[in-house]
């Protein structure tokens, strides 16, 4: 078991990453906090098996994402927000715009679980396809095709929000 003070430092260092993956996935702050706490509790138990800082970051991303997918499956919250609930402002707006960001987050939260995980890791964690594949233990080809479909879907829906045609 790690030293308590050291472990608290690790929690502080990674809390925004873990919490944000959960929050963008679940779109529910209390549920995201609870899930993030569970991930750190599990990290505390598994700490001895981790070999480096990079390994720790990969482990946290993978476990958080898998927990989010499991949570949605158990809660039958997939997707949590229906596409019909996502507002589509008629007038174009320019980012960063809090309302636009909120709409895009809702749009992401309305995706099926696997697609949602890929999009969150791509945009929040700025990960490359190969990194995502390694993190989620998925074939690179599968990640590429699913990500491509998810992004096409998001672009089509979001282009109306942004008022741009790509």
């Amino acid at each position: 078991m790690p030293d308590r003070a050291d472990f608290e430092g690790i929690v502080r260092e990674h809390q925004s990453m873990v919490f944000s993956i959960a929050y963008h996935f679940l779109h529910d702050r209390p549920a995201a906090e609870e899930l993030a706490q569970d991930v750190f509790l599990r990290l505390y138990k598994s700490f001895g098996a981790l070999e480096s800082a990079e390994h720790l970051t990969r482990w946290l991303r993978r476990v958080t994402t898998n927990r989010c997918i499991d949570y949605c499956r158990r809660s039958k919250l997939m997707p949590r927000i229906g596409l019909e609930q996502v507002p589509e402002p008629s007038s174009p707006s320019r980012p960063p715009d809090p309302m636009l960001s909120r709409t895009l987050r809702q749009l992401v939260a309305s995706l099926p679980g696997n697609w949602r995980a890929l999009v969150i890791l791509k945009y929040q964690e700025e990960m490359e396809t190969e990194e995502i594949a390694r993190a989620l233990d998925m074939p690179v080809g599968t990640v590429k095709s699913q990500l491509s479909r998810a992004l096409d879907f998001l672009r089509e829906k979001a282009s109306r929000v942004l008022g741009e045609t790509e």
Binding site: E8, Q15, M17, F19, Q124, A158, L162
Partner: protein, 114 residues
């Protein structure tokens, strides 16, 4: 890099968890049920955002239930005591009545002086 990519990057940027997150994680580690028994489990439940209210409500319901049970028991004991006093009063009254009845009968049968 498209404007849309930037918009998604902005929308999905990292956010800080609620204040005291790390402290709550450490409290749950400290209070893991296998390390501290039932009280530790209850304490750990209080650290979980979704269980916090449920645990508080359950504790409040338990407290109200305990007070109600105690009040009900006191009422029952007082009722039993009052019932015993009534029974005692009735027994005494019955005894007195029997005594009076016996005297009345004695007077009724006594020979009259001429």
């Amino acid at each position: 890099m498209s404007r849309l990519d930037d918009a998604f990057r902005e929308a999905l940027r990292r956010q800080e968890p609620p204040d005291g997150f790390a402290e709550r994680v450490m409290a749950r580690i400290q209070a893991r049920p296998e390390q501290g028994g039932a009280w530790a489990g209850l304490l750990a439940a209080f650290q979980r955002p979704r269980l916090r209210w449920a645990t508080a409500l359950a504790a409040a319901a338990l407290a109200v239930g305990a007070v109600e049970y105690r009040n009900e028991r006191e009422r029952r004991v007082e009722g039993e005591r009052a019932k015993e006093q009534v029974m005692l009063a009735l027994r005494i009254t019955g005894g007195k009545l029997r005594l009076v009845q016996a005297r009345v009968q004695r007077i009724g049968y006594a020979p009259r002086e001429r």
